[in-house]
């Protein structure tokens, strides 16, 4: 131990951030770590986005124009891995780090040093993954789902892929343990579970899902590794294994994973809509129960990703009906958001615009999900652009829009400055128009039979693909506006008040803007606050 242990509480109350690089490398502060998560995720968003633009450039016209098909497949695979594990998940962990302690009246996360470790593992994991682009045989090209036997044809990148997934899992599990312990153990006196903000609730459930399924993914990729290098036969029919088994294990992880990426988004939207409707959230308890039901159901629907593998009919029926059941709690949430806005005194600042677009566009993605859930119909839709349209609708105007909304909503609290509302609105409208231009035509492409993960296509698909590519370029470059808004807001601007918005609800708005280095050094007294209000 080289650093002296700071003794007594006085030392803790005073200590501000360390100087220079140490502040970030040795960080234990939830705000510093949250900031690093958010910046990392924004960086990965652009890296993964650049890969998407390579894909869309190639697909702009039929025939092969820009890249080798092998490289095209590397781009689709890496785009997905980076966006899922590098952009969306870290962004939500960053938001959790920043907001959960402030929302529950805690000074910091419960396990601050582990928090540091779970962040710093991520750059290592993605460094390993991105380095595979320069290896013999190139980056992994078998799809982010890593199905054997195809993925076993990966070149030198293969072990790097496996171990980077291990590291991402390690980071997520530690992050999730931290979130759960913080929420269960660090709440201010008087904040009972059913008084917690919805964002905290959705993250509690998300963290539970993460701890339950990330180890399963680790097991799955470990078996890929031993099949490749140590002669095991897990996914080899000749040895009594089954390649379909991998799909079962992968999607046992993969389906809860999609809720891991959307539940915190539900939480964000449930914070924003009440603020800008100037009404409390409609049906708070039912929101909690709906999110919990979604989490439970997410464990028993995984094989709807595999309707075409030849599973027994009883299996297809079970997974079809279980999947459709998810529409019920999801519908509860959507109706509650709408009921919250009903007769509210609504205004449409940028976070609210993103939240509204989320409700509308995520629902489109949800409906196409229901279509895919129908086993006999899915035999047609499977592995077509309809699937691509579906999951991009729930992930881009779903998760990503919620992250953007959260960014605009809490930036004034983080920086102490208001962001540029005009630029924010430009960012919103450009994003919304282009995201629909990109992904809506993909529904038609899929229904007409265009397969996914193919660099070339029949000329009948040319028009829709052209428009989708225009939309993708437009969406991609619109995001530069977001960076400009954030940069301006960090640098200065109109000072934000403590409450920032007219009538926000929650403990984070009782803190000054920008929030102090340690959020609450003493537990806030909720009963006293309620009595005053």
């Amino acid at each position: 131990m080289t650093t002296a242990v700071a003794g007594g509480h006085e030392a803790h109350d005073d200590h501000g951030p360390a100087k220079g690089l140490k502040r970030w490398l040795y960080a234990t502060n939830h705000k510093d770590i949250g900031t690093m998560y958010l910046i990392f995720s924004l960086l990965m968003f652009f890296v993964g986005g650049a890969m998407a633009l390579v894909v869309r450039s190639e697909l702009m016209q039929p025939g092969l124009q820009f890249v080798h098909p092998e490289f095209f497949n590397q781009m689709t695979t890496m785009h997905a891995l980076i966006m899922v594990f590098g952009a969306v998940m870290p962004a939500f962990v960053g938001l959790a780090n920043w907001m959960i302690p402030m929302m529950i009246g805690a000074p910091d996360m419960a396990l601050p040093r582990m928090n540091n470790w779970s962040f710093w593992i991520l750059p290592v994991a993605f460094g390993l993954l991105l380095s595979t682009l320069f290896m013999p045989g190139g980056a992994p090209a078998g799809g982010w789902t890593m199905y054997p036997p195809l993925i076993l044809q990966t070149g030198d990148a293969f072990p790097f892929l496996i171990f980077s997934v291990h590291l991402m899992g390690l980071s997520s599990i530690m992050g999730a343990i931290n979130v759960i312990v913080t929420i269960l153990n660090m709440r201010a006196p008087g904040m009972t579970l059913l008084k917690m903000p919805m964002f905290v609730w959705t993250w509690l459930i998300t963290a539970y899902l993460l701890i339950a399924v990330m180890p399963v993914l680790a097991g799955a990729v470990t078996m890929l590794l031993t099949d490749q290098f140590f002669g095991t036969s897990f996914f080899l029919a000749a040895g009594g294994g089954d390649p379909v088994l991998f799909q079962h294990i992968f999607w046992f992880f993969g389906h809860p994973e999609v809720y891991i990426m959307i539940l915190p988004a539900f939480g964000v939207v449930s914070e924003i809509i009440p603020t800008f409707s100037r009404k409390p959230l409609f049906g708070y308890d039912s929101m909690v129960y709906a999110a919990s039901s979604i989490a439970f159901l997410s464990f028993i629907v995984w094989a709807h990703h595999m309707f075409t593998v030849g599973m027994p009919l009883s299996g297809q029926l079970f997974f079809m009906f279980a999947t459709m059941l998810i529409a019920v709690p999801t519908g509860v949430k959507v109706f509650n958001w709408i009921a919250t806005m009903w007769r509210g005194a609504m205004t449409f600042e940028t976070p609210m615009l993103f939240a509204l677009a989320f409700v509308f566009l995520f629902t489109i993605g949800g409906f196409s999900g229901l279509m895919l859930a129908i086993a006999p119909a899915d035999v047609q839709y499977h592995d077509t652009y309809f699937v691509v349209a579906h999951f991009h609708y729930v992930l881009v105007p779903g998760s990503i829009f919620a992250i953007m909304a959260a960014g605009y909503y809490w930036l004034p609290k983080w920086t102490g400055n208001m962001y540029n509302e005009t630029l924010g609105k430009w960012h919103f409208w450009l994003s919304t128009i282009f995201v629909n231009l990109t992904f809506f035509p993909m529904h038609f492409l899929g229904l007409a039979g265009m397969p996914r993960r193919i660099p070339d296509y029949g000329t009948q698909f040319a028009d829709f693909n052209f428009w989708a590519s225009i939309g993708a370029m437009g969406f991609g470059f619109s995001q530069i506006l977001f960076v400009i808004v954030v940069w301006q807001c960090v640098r200065g601007g109109e000072k934000a008040t403590d409450k920032v918005w007219e009538r926000p609800i929650g403990l984070e708005w009782t803190l000054p803007s920008p929030a102090p280095y340690h959020s609450f050094t003493t537990p806030p007294n909720l009963e006293a606050k309620e009595a005053k209000a």
Binding site: M1, T2, T3, V5, G7, H9, H12, D13, A18, Y26, T28, A106, P107, A110, P112, R113, M114, N116, W117, W120, I121, V124, L128, P159, F160, F163, I173, I177, I180, V181, L184, N185, M186, R187, I211, A212, V213, P215, V216, A218, G219, T222, L225, T226, T232, S233, F234, A237, A238, G239, G240, G241, D242, L245, H248, I249, P312, H518, T521, T522
Partner: protein, 288 residues
């Protein structure tokens, strides 16, 4: 929830996580290039593991010394407990994946390769003559003929060893609470000795399997599930036994009091978890 304090406790920053990150980086790069056929990778991996061990000694040492100075509040203690509980839950799910594979192989993939359900033609055209049995190394007879290890031999001894060690650690725990240091020392020592004997027996069993029974990791799905499940379990027993040994050293140094001994309890929980996994292994891998 422990909310008695007026002030929250926030630990000072730490360089240990970043040391651990560097260790992981070297370990992962090393093992990757080693698997790709480059010999120096092995040494890079070892260097990474070395850094990780160094990190663990430093980080745990830091936490122990802070605890000994009485810096931690009850709330911190609860955070540690919850953290350990959820960590063990993640371990349970890791093992669940491999148990799931065993279940799937025995109840689905093997019977299907043998022609059950709607797989008559799979059997007839792809794997003619293959009959669904267990244990099996698959229709292609991967790794050649082998024998499995009977449940009543070494595995039974190992079961008795591990179950007894669960009893001895519970006796040690009660002795700790009651303040009987002699009993605590003796039974904790007995626990990790039983653990290390278990590892020895398991090692002997592996040698026996490879040399005499031709049962290897490459013996089809049986060999794969057998060695992966028992191997990961053995790894966890090894880690657990080392933890027990360190806890024993800490007992000798007088670190634990009847009211403040989370380190002991965390290791005890972990040891019980390892024990429960073994019972599952004994039933589903060796016995049934």
């Amino acid at each position: 929830m422990a909310h008695a304090q007026d002030h929250y406790y926030v630990p000072h920053d730490s360089h240990w996580p970043i040391v651990g990150t560097v260790g992981l980086l070297f370990m992962m790069i090393g093992v990757s290039i080693w698997l790709n056929g480059s010999a120096p990778g092995f040494w890079i991996m070892l260097a990474g593991i070395g850094v990780l061990v160094f990190m663990m000694i430093g980080w745990f040492g830091n936490v122990i010394s802070e605890n000994q100075q009485g810096l931690y509040s009850d709330q911190v203690d609860v955070s540690f407990r919850m953290g350990m509980f959820w960590f063990i839950f993640s371990e349970v799910m890791f093992f669940a994946a491999f148990f799931g594979v065993l279940f799937y192989a025995r109840n689905m993939s093997i019977p299907w390769l043998g022609g059950e359900s709607n797989n008559f033609f799979t059997n007839l055209l792809l794997w003619p003559g293959f009959e669904s049995t267990w244990p099996t190394n698959g229709p292609a007879d991967m790794g050649g003929d082998f024998e499995s290890i009977p449940a009543l031999g070494l595995p039974l001894i190992n079961t008795i060893l591990l179950l007894s060690s669960s009893v001895t650690i519970t006796i040690a725990h009660h002795a700790l609470i009651a303040g009987h240091r002699g009993t605590l020392n003796a039974f904790l020592a007995l626990t990790f000795i039983l653990g290390f004997i278990f590892i020895g027996v398991q090692g002997y069993e592996y040698v026996h399997a490879y040399r005499d029974l031709n049962l290897t990791l490459a013996s089809g799905i049986f060999g794969s599930t057998f060695f992966m499940l028992t191997g990961f379990h053995g790894l966890h027993v090894t880690i657990g036994a080392i933890m027990l040994f360190i806890i024993w050293l800490r007992v000798l140094k007088g670190h634990f009091t009847p009211t403040n001994h989370f380190g002991f309890e965390a290791v005890a929980w972990y040891w019980h978890f390892v024990d429960v996994v073994w019972v599952g292994l004994y039933i589903f891998v060796y016995w049934l």
